[in-house]
């Protein structure tokens, strides 16, 4: 792209003003001129050429040594020009990639979205925030006709786009299991086979699966190597780690998952999370689980949704609003 005559004259006059008066405002305008030239894709060597032409118009008797040196400079700038063109191309490509990732992220949101069901007697709060654009955490609620709740919370190891794709596989595998009477241990055993067959060797998935039997207020659960959650016992005002040992999904085809049960009383809370909560760091220091519980304790009297949001805000703030890992927190609060 060439500069038009008007711009050329403008540059020449600015140069003249500066040479004669060392005028600061001419310098400022020259800077504006550069910005405009960049917008018009003027390359560095073209710019030097403009300079040479302007100088020749202002000083027709310019010594031939100076002219030669400027031509020499022009030649040396050509490589910079090429590098600049390459930079421009990369910038355009990056823009395209960014928009593709945005499309993928919003598609992931649509594919993996879950609605928090209304279960009478149970107050549910859930928050899941990705550290980057694609979320490697996943949680899913299913409600059956008898007011029972199935709940999955998972973390894919391996981050970014491959992790997000693996999540979609998990979701569709979960959806394909018949709803009636599947126990958490059977669900995990089935999923384990799906994951083992279909993911790369250094990728694996941790998952906690729970089934809340509304009629008896019992939570049945099993865990595939997932970060342990907590059970808040209201009567004793105490937090107890929900221990459920089991191997992560996708490592061996024949893993067995032990199933446990927990009876919930009024105001008891089941707290489920991913390691984005417990592996939270402030500078070089890790947050210990007592500290996580100390924060949670401050908000347990609130409605479940408000509580998980407050806890998230707290951890977001102490990490300077920059999450290192995807963060998912779920509260199931027994109301009556």
């Amino acid at each position: 792209m060439e500069l038009n005559k008007f711009d050329f004259n403008n540059y020449r006059d600015l140069l003249d003003r500066y040479i004669l008066k060392q005028d600061e405002s001419a310098l400022y305008q020259a800077e504006q001129f550069t910005k405009l030239s960049m917008q018009n894709n003027i390359l560095p060597e073209e710019f030097i050429n403009i300079h040479i032409q302007a100088l020749k118009e202002l000083y027709p008797d310019l010594p031939k040594e100076i002219c030669a040196s400027l031509n020499f400079l022009l030649e040396t700038m050509i490589s910079y020009g090429l590098a600049y063109q390459e930079f421009q191309t990369l910038r355009e490509k990056q823009g395209e990639l960014e928009s593709e990732i945005s499309v993928a992220a919003s598609m992931q949101q649509t594919l993996l979205s879950t609605t928090k069901p209304e279960i009478s007697g149970l107050d549910i709060g859930a928050i899941s925030v990705p550290a980057n654009r694609m979320n490697g955490d996943y949680h899913h609620f299913v409600k059956d006709e008898s007011n029972n709740l199935g709940i999955a919370i998972a973390d894919v190891i391996g981050k970014g786009i491959p992790a997000a794709l693996a999540m979609s596989m998990i979701k569709y595998a979960l959806d394909s299991f018949p709803e009636s009477q599947l126990s958490p241990s059977v669900i995990l055993e089935n999923l384990n086979r799906v994951v083992e067959r279909n993911v790369d060797t250094n990728m694996f998935i941790t998952m906690f699966y729970g089934f809340f039997d509304s009629k008896n207020s019992v939570l049945q659960y099993a865990s595939a190597g997932h970060e342990p959650g907590f059970y808040y016992c209201a009567k004793e005002d105490k937090f107890i780690e929900i221990k459920a040992k089991g191997l992560v999904l996708g490592v061996t085809p024949d893993a067995i998952y032990e199933q446990f049960e927990l009876k919930l009383e009024k105001d008891d809370i089941v707290i489920l999370l991913t390691d984005g909560v417990t592996e939270c760091r402030i500078g070089e220091r890790f947050i210990e689980s007592e500290e996580v519980l100390h924060v949670i304790r401050q908000y347990i009297h609130l409605p479940a949704q408000e509580a998980v949001e407050k806890v998230f805000k707290y951890f977001e703030r102490i990490q300077d609003f920059h999450l290192r890992d995807d963060f998912t927190l779920i509260f199931l609060k027994k109301e009556v």
Binding site: T201, M203, F204, A224, K245, G246, L247, D325
Partner: protein, 111 residues
């Protein structure tokens, strides 16, 4: 934080000791994988990974050890992790991997 890997082979050449120093995370895990996988892919090799000086490991590090474990099955080699710090050991416990990977926290690496 970086990860340093020292490989100490023995005379017979059937035992390798990897002494790691630093942190294993998404940035350093590829480096570990590059060093570890060729060793466990040698038939009949015993590979000992000394984690005494590893203060932090995240789940990407676990992924590398799972890959290595799968490779030992194919090549009839053996992987052993020694001298784990508490925080790192907890990760192997939660994920149940301590039941399928040979881990000894009490042993000093190399002995």
């Amino acid at each position: 934080m970086d990860l340093n890997i020292n490989i100490l082979g023995n005379v017979e050449g059937t035992k390798q000791i990897l002494k790691l120093t630093g942190e294993i995370d998404a940035y350093t895990a590829p480096k570990l994988k590059e060093a570890l996988l060729p060793l466990v892919k040698k038939d009949g090799e015993l590979v000992i990974v000394d984690l005494e000086n590893v203060s932090y490991m995240d789940s990407t590090g676990l992924g590398v050890f799972i890959s290595a474990l799968k490779a030992t099955k194919e090549h009839n080699s053996e992987l052993r992790l020694v001298s784990l710090q508490d925080r790192v050991e907890r990760l192997f416990e939660i994920t149940g991997l301590n039941s399928i990977i040979n881990i000894d926290s009490t042993v000093q690496g190399g002995n």
